[in-house]
C-alpha cells in the first residue's frame, strides 16, 4: 500500500483531533472558501493583535487531508505576524509542488513542523487542492483583517 505515504499518522491525528476548531470571537475578518470540484468548505476567521495573528478559528467539512491541513496550519500560524504566516504559507505551497521529492520536505522541516507530513500529498495532483484550501482562506482572511485594522497603511505603518 502506498497510502501510508499520504496518510501519515500526524495527518490522521490532526483529522481525528483537530486543533483550534470552532468559530470564535473577536475577529476582524471571516472568509468562506469552497473547493468547487468536490464541495469541500471552510469558514475561517482571523483575529489580529497589531500585526500578529492572535487567533485563527474555523469550521469546515471535507476530507481528512483538508481538515488535517487547517488544523496543522492553526498550530503554525497563531502567534506569527501576518507576513511570517504568509511566508510559511509559501513554503507549504512549495511543498505541495514537490511531486513527492523528499529533499524538498527535508529543507522545509523547520519552517513547516507537523505540516511537513503533507509531503506525500504532493504525489497526488487531485488532492493538493484539498491541502491548500485552508492556506488560501488564511491568505484571503488575513489580507482583509489587515485592511480593517490598518486601513491606510496595509504594510503596518509605524505603529
Amino acid at each position: 500500500m502506498q497510502l501510508e505515504s499520504m496518510y501519515q499518522e500526524i495527518i490522521l491525528d490532526h483529522y481525528r483531533n483537530p486543533h483550534g476548531r470552532g468559530l470564535r470571537e473577536p475577529f476582524e475578518a471571516e472568509v468562506h472558501h469552497v473547493n468547487p470540484t468536490c464541495g469541500d468548505e471552510v469558514t475561517l476567521r482571523v483575529h489580529l493583535d497589531g500585526e500578529t495573528i492572535a487567533d485563527v478559528s474555523y469550521e469546515g467539512m471535507g476530507c481528512s487531508i483538508s481538515q488535517a491541513s487547517v488544523s496543522a496550519m492553526y498550530d503554525l500560524v497563531v502567534g506569527k505576524t501576518v507576513p511570517q504566516a504568509l511566508e510559511t504559507g509559501e513554503h507549504f505551497v512549495t511543498l505541495m509542488q514537490a511531486k513527492g521529492d523528499p529533499s524538498v520536505a527535508e529543507k522545509l522541516e523547520d519552517e513547516l513542523e507537523d505540516a511537513v507530513a503533507f509531503a506525500g500529498v504532493s504525489k497526488y495532483p487531485a488532492r493538493i487542492k484539498c491541502a491548500l484550501m485552508s492556506w488560501m482562506a488564511l491568505k484571503d482572511a488575513s489580507a482583509r483583517a489587515l485592511s480593517v485594522t490598518h486601513p491606510a497603511t496595509p504594510d503596518g505603518g509605524n505603529r
Binding site: Q2, Y7, D40, E41, C63, S64
Partner: protein
C-alpha cells in the same frame, strides 16, 4: 464471527448476459495496470467510458484514409469524408430510432443543451418569423428537476436570467425519486419547456419521462430529455420516449470525446434559430445579412468533429452487436448484486433507490466517518477507479444532507469481480481509517 453470507463473492449472482472476458479483450486500456501493478477496476464509466479497439481503429482509419473537411470541396477525399460523416449520422439516427436529418452533432451533452437554451433566447429577437415560435420571455416558465446534472440546470438558469423567464423545479422524495405530487401545479400553461434527465447520474433513478412529457405536451410545452446516462445504458427509441429533444454524449457510450448529439423532432428543430453561426450553416451570405440552412446543418457551424463522429458510429455498431437490451440487463444484474453487497457493509448508506426498479447502474453511497475523497483514495490505491464528490449535481447531495458521495458506475466490461473489488475496497477504507464497526473486521 462474521456470517460468510455477508462476505463479497457469495451473494446473488444471476448469470450475466454479456461475456465479460471477451468484451474486456476488446478494450486495450483494460490490459494496463495501475498503482504498482494492480489490475485496473474501472468503475467510472458514468464520467467517461473506455473505448473498444474498433472505435480507435475507425478514427485512425478516417485520418489515415479519407481525412478532409466534410461538406466542403469537390475532391475525392472531401467526398469520402462527407460520406463517412453522414454514415455516422445515419448510424446514430438508427440507434435511437430517428431520421438522419433530426440528428445534430454537437461537442457533447452540455453543448447540445446550451444550443437549445440559446436558441430559445435568440428566438425572441429573430428577424425571421419562423424562428420566433418557441421564444421565451417574461412570464414564461422553464421547469427542471432537483436531480439534474449542472449541465441541465445552469443553462436554464442562465436562459431565465437573459429572458426574464422563471425557473421552477420538481423536487425529490427521500428514496431518490422525482416527487410528482405537484406535477400539475409546477407544469402549467406558463411552462415553455420541461428539461429533465432520463437517468440520474448520481442516484441512478430512471424517471417516468412519458408521464411528465404527457403533462408538458398537454400545456403546450416542449420536453428536453438529458440522455447522457440513459442512451449509453438502455434501449432508447425517440418514437416511444415522449421527448421533443434528446441530448447525449459520445464519450460516455464507448465513443470518442468531443462528440455528442442533439436529437429533435424535425418540426421543432426547424423552428429554432441557430446558436453558433459561421461556415457551412448558411444558405446565402451578403454583407447586409444571411440566411441559414435547414436542420441539421443549421446547427453545425464550422468544420465538424468528423473523425470523432465516425468513431462514435463505430461505438454504436459495437453496442448494437451486443444488444442494448442485454446491456441493460447486464447492468441490472450488477446493480442488484452491488446494492445487496453494499447493504451488508455496516456504515454504508446508498443514496438513491434501494432496489433495481426503474434504476440504472449508478450506485452512490456514503461511508460513516470516512469522507468520500478518502474512500476514493483507498480504492485508487487498490486499482479501483470511482468518482467522488458532488458529481456535478450539487443540489442532489445537498438534498440528501451529505457533502459528497462515492459513486461506482458499471458498463459492458464490468463483472462481478469488479463489484467484489469495490465492496472489499470499501471495507479496506473502513479498516484504514479505523472505523470498522465491531465484529465485521
Amino acid at each position: 464471527m462474521t456470517a460468510t453470507a455477508s462476505r463479497p463473492g457469495t451473494g446473488t449472482r444471476t448469470p450475466l448476459p454479456l461475456d465479460v472476458e471477451a468484451i474486456r479483450a476488446d478494450f486495450p486500456i483494460l490490459t494496463r495496470t495501475v498503482r504498482d501493478g494492480k489490475r485496473l477496476v474501472y468503475l467510472d464509466s458514468g464520467a467517461t467510458s473506455q473505448k473498444p479497439r474498433s472505435v480507435l481503429d475507425r478514427e485512425r482509419w478516417f485520418y489515415e484514409h479519407v481525412n478532409a473537411a466534410p461538406h466542403r470541396g469537390a475532391h475525392q477525399l472531401a467526398e469520402e469524408a462527407t460520406a463517412a460523416y453522414e454514415q455516422a449520422r445515419a448510424a446514430l439516427a438508427r440507434f435511437i430510432g430517428a431520421a438522419a436529418d433530426e440528428v445534430v452533432f454537437t461537442r457533447n451533452t452540455t453543448e447540445a443543451i446550451n444550443l437549445v437554451a440559446y436558441a430559445l433566447s435568440n428566438a425572441a429577437t429573430a428577424k425571421e418569423e419562423q424562428f420566433r415560435r418557441y421564444a421565451v420571455g417574461q412570464g414564461d416558465e422553464i421547469v427542471v428537476t432537483e436531480m439534474e446534472h449542472h449541465a441541465n440546470l445552469v443553462p436554464w438558469q442562465q436562459l431565465c436570467e437573459r429572458t426574464g423567464a422563471t425557473l421552477r423545479w420538481l423536487g425529490l422524495t427521500d428514496d431518490g425519486r422525482l416527487d410528482l405530487a405537484d406535477l400539475d401545479t409546477v407544469v402549467t400553461e406558463r411552462t415553455k419547456l420541461v428539461a429533465l434527465t432520463q437517468q440520474s447520474n448520481i442516484l441512478g433513478t430512471i424517471n417516468p419521462v412519458r408521464e411528465i412529457a404527457d403533462r408538458a405536451h398537454a400545456v403546450g410545452a416542449l420536453v428536453l430529455v438529458d440522455g447522457a446516462q440513459s442512451v449509453p445504458h438502455q434501449p432508447v427509441d425517440v418514437a416511444d420516449l415522449g421527448a421533443d429533444l434528446l441530448t447525449f454524449s459520445g464519450h460516455k457510450m464507448l465513443g470518442p470525446t468531443g462528440i455528442g448529439v442533439l436529437w429533435g423532432r424535425y418540426e421543432v428543430l426547424d423552428a429554432l434559430p441557430p446558436f453558433l453561426t459561421g461556415g457551412s450553416m448558411i444558405e446565402v451570405v451578403r454583407m447586409e445579412g444571411s440566411t441559414f440552412m435547414p436542420p441539421p446543418q443549421r446547427f453545425e457551424a464550422g468544420v465538424p468533429m468528423a473523425a470523432q463522429a465516425v468513431g462514435l458510429g463505430a461505438a454504436v455498431e459495437y453496442l448494437e452487436a451486443l444488444g442494448m437490451g442485454r446491456v441493460e440487463e447486464h447492468e441490472q444484474a450488477l446493480t442488484a448484486y452491488a446494492l445487496e453487497q453494499l447493504a451488508e457493509v455496516p456504515g454504508v448508506t446508498v443514496i438513491g433507490p434501494p432496489d433495481t426498479v426503474a434504476r440504472g447502474g449508478a450506485v452512490s453511497f456514503t461511508v460513516d466517518r470516512v469522507h468520500p475523497h478518502d474512500v476514493g483514495q483507498v480504492l485508487d490505491d487498490l486499482g479501483i477507479a470511482v468518482r467522488v464528490g458532488h458529481h456535478c449535481a450539487w443540489p442532489v447531495v445537498r438534498r440528501y444532507g451529505v457533502p459528497a458521495t462515492t459513486r461506482a458506475t458499471f458498463y459492458v466490461h464490468t463483472g462481478y469481480d469488479d463489484v467484489d473489488a469495490l465492496v472489499e475496497g470499501v471495507r479496506a477504507a473502513q479498516r484504514f481509517f479505523g472505523v470498522t464497526p465491531e465484529g465485521t473486521a
